[in-house]
């Protein structure tokens, strides 16, 4: 499990990797919240490209960050989840709280 950050304009890009379960979300949560406090972005992009597994702990992680950003007028983008992770996100109704981007912005502009 590893997290990389990239802050551009008002967008914080967080590249998650490995397995998102209850054990790993404890550390992910504190690292993401530290970055949110430091950069105060308008948009939080969670990139799932390198995430190999996610259970409902990941849903709790997204909902918790939504509760932080939403009162500040911010938004969350969930980018490039695998087919299975997209299924879990939809089952949890996450597309009502966040934008689901199955493809990268580059793929969208190329098509």
């Amino acid at each position: 499990m590893q997290i990389d950050y990239d802050m551009q304009k008002s967008e914080l890009l967080v590249r998650l990797s490995g397995e998102i379960d209850h054990h790993n979300t404890m550390q992910m949560r504190s690292e993401i919240d530290t970055a949110l406090c430091t950069h105060t972005p308008h948009t939080l992009v969670l990139d799932f490209r390198d995430v190999t597994f996610m259970d409902s702990s990941g849903i709790g992680l997204i909902m918790g960050r939504y509760k932080i950003l939403q009162p500040l007028g911010g938004e969350i983008i969930l980018r490039q989840p695998s087919a299975h992770i997209a299924r879990v996100l939809r089952l949890a109704g996450m597309e009502r709280l966040a934008e689901l981007q199955i493809h990268t912005p580059e793929e969208v502009s190329a098509s």
């Binding site: 397995e19 379960d21 209850h22 054990h23 979300t25 404890m26 949560r29 597994f53 996610m54 259970d55 409902s56 702990s57 849903i59 709790g60 992680l61 909902m63 918790g64 087919a83 299975h84 879990v88 089952l91 949890a92």
Partner: protein, 148 residues
């Protein structure tokens, strides 16, 4: 019912063992050659069940979680997860989507909803003060001769 294969293990109820439970299930399923989706579904199911035992059963106190996996005829996988934790006083309430007894841990309250969605059968037996046993079954699809 005849059991084709069986695997049992007991481990301490610590969060690092959630990955161990998924790995044990994956290894048990190798001979059955499940599809990528079946494997992902079942890894999610066992992760939810074991996390429930650790977070809700033991409230992060010490204890142990038992897993029993069986391959039954017609490619039916049987999963039983047992803890000797605090038990569930109101099972229908616990199974309501978005209900959680641990909001401070940012639990989404979707564990049972996911277990129900990704299995064919789910039974919850619980005695407050004595623990909880989850029993699930999922039929795997038939093996196709041609490659996917």
């Amino acid at each position: 019912m005849k059991t084709m294969n069986e695997f049992k293990c007991v481990f301490p109820a610590v969060s690092a063992n959630e990955a161990l439970a998924r790995a044990a299930l994956s290894a048990f399923l190798i001979p059955a050659d499940p599809t990528a989706q079946e494997l992902a579904d079942l890894r999610t199911v066992i992760s939810e069940a074991v996390t429930n035992a650790i977070v809700h059963g033991y409230r992060n106190a010490s204890g142990s979680v038992s897993i029993c996996l069986r391959m039954l005829p017609d490619r039916v996988l049987y999963i039983r997860i047992t803890d000797k934790g605090c038990g569930i006083p109101d099972i229908p309430k616990a199974m309501e989507p978005l209900y959680t007894s641990a909001p401070e841990e940012e639990r989404a309250g979707l564990g049972f909803a996911i277990m129900q969605e990704f299995t064919d059968y789910l039974q919850v037996r619980s005695t407050p003060g004595h623990g909880t046993t989850l029993t699930m079954r999922r039929q795997l699809g038939q093996i196709h001769a041609e490659a996917d």
